[in-house]
């Protein structure tokens, strides 16, 4: 069994077997991270460039650590304040970096499709670390790994994805991945935060948390961006928290052992109450740990697969 893709641009296009292959490999990577000696030589001599056109402390740190634990040389490029601001196009940046012969590019960009465009211009595997409102595949993989380790399976579980689905790449990747593994996916949000055609995206749609959380095995909260809180998509923070914030009352409608997840960074008191985020059902810290493992698995898979050898 191998992994038949050159890049990881999204969950779309991955089969159930592809996903399980990556999750199994990530399980192995977890062991490495839990050892005292965390550094391996799997990717020794190979160069990883993290190219972030949009600032992200957490994801960038996670990819950096994953690369270092595999022995790769890691370089971080935050392009938010470099030549791209001076008018250099995405494609030119890609070609410049490509000339430096990296062995993998990890790319985040604020525009949907930007990472795919860049991947057409470079000679190494590209990993999408989030492109606009399109996809964030490693987040969906780490979420699945977290669920699988906590519940023993993903298939047939009821997963409620709650909040700003409209602007969320995390939601899109999770909807695709969870469906591929046979979970029942629900989305819960005010209609202003749901994309057009959502009912045809393989989910059950709910406008109330009370209905959407009932009997759920997993409650996955999404971050609501600050600029969307004050009147443009929802009237106010306090109204949003009242109807869509995850508190003890709403969570009590889910199964007693339901997992609480959040991709971070959290807005405590907006989409999630502090005591729930820190409570016994929360697996938010486990998600962060699984993030490193999943990224190790993805990089190892892409960089060592036969077609991608330098």
């Amino acid at each position: 069994m191998s992994f038949p893709h050159r890049h990881l641009l999204g969950i779309k296009g991955l089969s159930e077997q592809d996903i399980i292959y990556l999750l199994d490999r990530a399980d192995e990577a977890v062991k490495i991270s839990r050892q005292r000696e965390k550094k391996t030589s799997t990717l020794r001599g190979l160069t990883q460039i993290n190219l972030f056109f949009e600032a992200s402390t957490r994801t960038q740190a996670s990819f950096e650590l994953a690369g270092k634990r595999l022995g790769a040389d890691v370089m971080n490029m935050s392009v938010a304040n470099s030549s791209v601001k001076k008018g250099e196009t995405l494609v030119d940046t890609a070609m410049t970096l490509n000339a430096m012969r990296p062995d993998v590019l990890v790319v985040r960009h604020s525009s949907a499709g930007a990472v795919a465009l860049l991947s057409q211009k470079v000679g190494c595997p590209v990993i999408n670390a989030g492109d606009g409102a399109h996809e964030h595949p490693t987040q969906a993989l780490l979420d699945a790994l977290t669920i699988r380790r906590a519940k023993g399976k993903v298939g047939r579980l009821i997963v409620a994805i709650c909040g700003d689905v409209l602007h969320s790449r995390v939601a899109r990747s999770n909807i695709l991945l969870l469906n591929a593994l046979g979970a029942r996916v629900r989305v819960v949000a005010p209609s202003t935060l749901l994309p057009s055609g959502i009912a045809d995206m393989g989910v059950e749609v709910f406008q109330s948390m009370e209905d959407g959380l009932r009997d759920a095995d997993v409650v996955m909260m999404l971050r609501l961006q600050r600029e969307r809180m004050a009147g443009s998509f929802v009237p106010s923070v306090r109204e949003y928290f009242r109807y869509y914030g995850l508190d003890a009352d709403k969570l009590s409608l889910a199964k007693p052992d339901a997992l609480v997840m959040h991709p971070g960074p959290m807005n405590r008191g907006v989409e999630i109450a502090s005591d729930i985020a820190d409570g016994p059902q929360s697996v938010i810290e486990l998600q962060v740990e699984m993030g490193v493992a999943v990224r190790m698995a993805v990089m190892e898979t892409l960089m060592l697969s036969e077609g991608n050898q330098p």
């Binding site: 949907a112 465009l117 409102a133 399109h134």
Partner: protein, 428 residues
């Protein structure tokens, strides 16, 4: 110039309703005789006779919506290069949109365009003038002087006039001059962040959508104002069947209203965008296949009067970008007729209606001396082999910009020769 005879050609002329095989006799750049009758007559002495058996002669196409980069963006397209692309597509008259830099909102600029066209263009180029100064939607331009200088109609370019009071007054004033106001309706706020058709496909791509209401609401408003003022109104580029419905109703109420559609919206749909292909990023956006089919039916019915190329040259600086950051627009002069023939070959639109929509009717709406092969008319003619198979190659396109949504498309039917005033300006 020697007299010319195009012999044994199938003549399709919507202006006279003729569809027959015969000859076209051209003397001094004008058609002197045409049809089966002309074939029976002796050719004029010294005439150059060309056997056109198997070909179709139609009046040269009149393209009512062409964006050109001159003045201001000559690296994308000049009047000369656009005219050569037009000749290749059988287009003998082009209406140049006023959204150049500077905007064509002044008599001096109308003169500039006409001078340049006279000196450098191989087809007829007619400027459209801006409806409001700088296309800002605030102050009227000098309608009378602009029309007198040669502007063929008044357009607000790609933008709806937001302020209904400004629009009402412009329509009222334009009526006195019998001018046509041509508008692409798109609500700037309702579709503000959108980059493609709103719906499931956009949602999966993570791209913000443009709802169809962004087109329909300002169109309905404008048609109300057309009713109020009695102005002649042309909806330049509609994309959804609900727009065709309101046009149909307005016509039934007796308003002087016409409508156009781009060839792209008749032959492509939103799924052609695939994985973020920016050449398919258009304004209005490509809609669904159901919409496309309904628009083809509305064209066949005649509710949609005309087809335009909406030729809009863009280069790599504006297209080789992430989809949401790219510009709208596609070139189309060279491929419009071949693409339109798809609708003929599929049996959806009869050839006569198609030629009407591409030539005769736009000429009539614009008041141009074109769109007809009647005796006495200027010999602007496209000679077509309707069964010629070919593949569009980027390298073959002669437009200065290469942003064609039909790159690598297979077509059946090609323009083999284009004549302007009896002179061959293109031969394949």
């Amino acid at each position: 110039m020697k007299p010319r005879v195009l012999a044994n050609v199938r003549i399709v002329d919507p202006s006279t309703g003729i569809d027959e095989i015969g000859d076209i006799v051209i003397i001094d750049g004008r058609i002197s005789a045409i049809g089966a009758d002309a074939a029976g007559m002796a050719p004029p002495s010294g005439a150059e006779i060309e056997d056109c058996a198997g070909l179709i002669a139609v009046p040269g196409l009149v393209d009512a919506c062409v964006h050109i980069g001159e003045p201001g963006a000559e690296h994308r397209e000049t009047i000369a290069s656009a005219s050569r692309a037009a000749a290749r597509g059988g287009v003998t008259s082009i209406i140049m949109m006023p959204d150049t830099d500077p905007v064509i909102d002044d008599v001096a600029l109308v003169d500039f365009v006409q001078r340049l066209a006279r000196d450098e263009a191989v087809v007829r180029v007619h400027p459209a003038a801006a409806l409001t100064k700088g296309l800002k939607g605030e102050e009227m331009t000098e309608f009378g002087l602009l029309l007198e200088a040669g502007a063929v109609w008044l357009s607000n370019g790609r933008h709806t006039v937001d302020n209904p009071a400004v629009m009402r007054r412009a329509m009222t004033y334009a009526r006195d001059f019998g001018a046509v106001i041509a508008v692409a309706t798109q609500d700037q706020r309702l579709g503000a962040t959108g980059v493609m058709n709103e719906g499931l496909f956009a949602s999966w791509l993570g791209l913000p959508g443009i709802p169809r209401e962004a087109e329909i609401i300002p169109l309905e408003r404008d048609l109300r104002l057309a009713g109020l003022t009695g102005a002649r109104y042309h909806a330049m580029s509609i994309s959804v069947p609900q727009s065709a419905d309101v046009i149909r109703d307005a016509k039934a109420r007796g308003l002087a209203v016409t409508a156009g559609i781009s060839i792209n919206h008749l032959t492509l749909n939103e799924t052609d965008i695939g994985e973020y292909r920016t050449f398919f990023r258009l304004s209005p956006p490509l809609r669904t296949e159901d919409d496309r089919r309904a628009m083809v039916a509305a064209l066949a019915e005649g509710v949609i009067d005309i087809i335009v190329s909406a030729h809009d040259p863009q280069d790599v600086d504006t297209k080789r970008l992430p989809f949401a950051d790219a510009e709208n627009g596609a070139i189309g002069l060279e491929t419009m007729l071949a693409a339109a023939l798809r609708l003929y070959h599929s049996g959806d639109v009869p050839l006569m209606r198609l030629v009407d929509a591409l030539s005769t009717r736009p000429a009539r709406i614009l008041g141009l001396e074109a769109g007809t092969l009647a005796p006495g008319a200027r010999a602007d003619i496209a000679l077509i082999d309707a069964d010629y198979p070919w593949v569009v190659s980027k390298d073959d396109l002669i437009s200065k910009s290469k942003n064609s949504p039909f790159e690598d498309a297979r077509f059946t039917g090609k323009v083999l020769q284009t004549l302007v005033a009896g002179v061959t300006v293109h031969r394949a």
